[in-house]
Symmetry: C2
Subunit: 336 residues, 2 copies
DNA sequence: ATGAAAGCGCTAACAG
DNA sequence: CTGTTAGCGCTTTCAT
């Protein structure tokens, strides 16, 4: 037979109410009783039924993490950060991948109406240009915290890195290295991170009296071979770029592949810089200059912000943006 | 007010039982009624309360995935595979990292006594040498399926790759390339994958009349700088190995770093082969020869096996081992 | 400090 | 085919 609160109550000649309160450390219960209850609970390997407790209390001790992809070290590190905080707080983490599909993102959030989670951490898809489905959670008092890929229109906590500055720094670095025609690989026109990085790029061009050329902005898709073609087309032109910035991790690899196929030498013929957290950046051929994002800490900070909201009465996270800076790590894909 | 089954029942002049059955497509309910119930449910945005339903039915539509790490592309790809089938089946995935700590693994499994999950997918830690904590789930009728890092003593479904053969193939390849003194980097003496890979290694040595030298087996830890030292010590010796096999992904990088520091040329002075799923293997300097594991498919297969068990009456997965082969991908870290 | 009782929202057994 | 009834295990007033 299963050990429930009733079992304990009967064995100790107490009511279930008392046992419940004792287990939850209620101030109403005497220390002595608490000890006895807890001792027996341990002895009989009592485990509280989560479903019963959630049903009654409305809290599930579970949060959800929704991200576009995981075969990407930025998100790997970020969920590491999230998991570390959740584990410490005794919370459980539900894990969802959208594969950049807005429809999936909506379906996943829809399911959260069911009381499955107490809070949500999300990095939206490249397709997400309005936040109606996310706002729906607010009415359910489920706090949402964004990290990295945020939605501007939501008033909640957001953890980002300094995307504008990073775009600027990356561009300026290439210019300093002698580039005059710099391509920017992006993934979305709606994503704030993409726009911010591009604005930084534009500003750096302007500050250096270089013209902005729309043809140098390449919107990549969620399809490697398609991206490969796009980049190849870019690089076979006579007036091909002499510098490329990959604003998301997976695109750096594609650039390397294209250059290898076209026998373009990095960094002599084209310089490359990637927004990337790959451990192996150092080991690439040539080592990749990166904008390295504080992925682990961003995940951690997002989780911390969410738990702060969960511990408040009114459940709504502060509407504030936390910026954790990225760093430029110069390696041999931009300098010899 | 919240829309519950009662709301629907009242509005349609039905009992809650009928509504519940209609929503669950019970054969007892007329098509007409089903239509009406579902239509209203949609209209009022009814969302079933998961906790109530789980409490009553004993099923949570949730599975757990427990892995040692995620900053590792093997596990990234594996959870991708898992998530893809879970999403398709309408299941939710709880995600846990053990960081190679047995104590954490035990604590996590202990929590599953609470009815939180219907089934478990696990790849055990390097420390896990007995399965008492895992067996405890059997008594709760919670099926467990292993993938990659299995526990031999458990009688359940296990998804692995051909570790023995891979160890053999890797070793034979190095021998074919002229290596005579081959080091093997391992992470555990208990882990079946490690032992299998080592057995393959030994067999290949024997088949080629090469002596087995215990000093060539290096047990690495869960600490990068420590591993770096171990490998460095190995490679500064006069009679240092002329070939190295990294049996887990993260160790390949360490080897490259050591070789760079010691100015050892790969592959001329030492040849390297890694068990790895890094997309970037091609892009390393030099490109890394790998044993590439079918990570995504292993994750997928594990999930499929688990769902098969979940759909059975008796809840116990077939005691069978599914082997999905790895492949040797030869690149320039072993041949010029 | 402890207990009685009500009920969270849903499902399953049994009647009709 | 539909409804009645009875809880799942727990938490939470409200009494005592």
């Amino acid at each position: 037979m299963r050990v429930t609160i009733k079992t304990l109550a009967k064995a100790l000649n107490l009511s279930t109410a008392t046992v419940s309160k004792a287990l939850n450390d209620s101030y109403e219960i005497s220390n002595d009783t608490k000890q006895r209850v807890k001792a027996l609970a341990r002895e009989l390997h009592y485990v509280p039924d989560l479903n019963a407790s959630s049903l009654r209390s409305g809290r599930s001790k579970t949060i959800a993490v929704i991200i576009p992809e995981v075969a990407d070290s930025f998100f790997s590190q970020a969920i590491n950060g999230i998991e570390s905080v959740a584990q410490e707080k005794g919370y459980h983490v539900l894990f969802y991948l959208t594969h950049e599909s807005l429809a999936k993102e909506q379906a996943i959030l829809q399911d959260f109406q069911s009381g499955r989670v107490d809070g949500v951490l999300i990095s939206v898809t490249a397709e997400t240009h309005n936040a109606a489905h996310i706002k729906a959670l607010e009415s359910k008092k489920i706090p949402v915290v964004f990290f990295d890929r945020i939605c501007d229109e939501m008033e909640t906590a957001k953890i980002i890195t300094d995307d504008y500055e990073s775009g600027y720094k990356a561009t300026q670095h290439l210019i300093d290295c002698g580039c005059r025609q710099i391509a920017l690989l992006s993934i979305s026109e709606n994503l704030s991170i993409s726009n911010q990085r591009m604005e930084g790029y534009k500003k750096a061009l302007a500050d250096n009296q270089l013209p902005f050329n729309a043809a140098n902005i390449i919107y990549c898709a969620n399809d490697e071979s398609y991206n490969f073609c796009l980049i190849k087309n870019l690089m076979v032109q006579a007036n091909r770029p002499d510098g490329i910035i990959a604003t998301v991790e997976k695109l750096s690899g594609s650039i390397y592949f294209v250059c290898r196929e076209l026998h373009l030498q990095i960094p002599t013929q084209v310089k490359v810089i990637g927004f990337s957290n790959l451990q192996s950046a150092w080991l690439l051929n040539p080592p990749l200059t990166t904008i390295t994002q504080p992925a682990f800490n961003m995940g951690k900070a997002a989780a911390v912000a969410l738990f702060k909201a969960l511990n408040k009465k009114n459940y709504s996270p502060k509407n504030e943006i936390l910026v954790i800076p990225s760093s430029l790590e110069i390696r041999n894909s931009t300098v010899i």
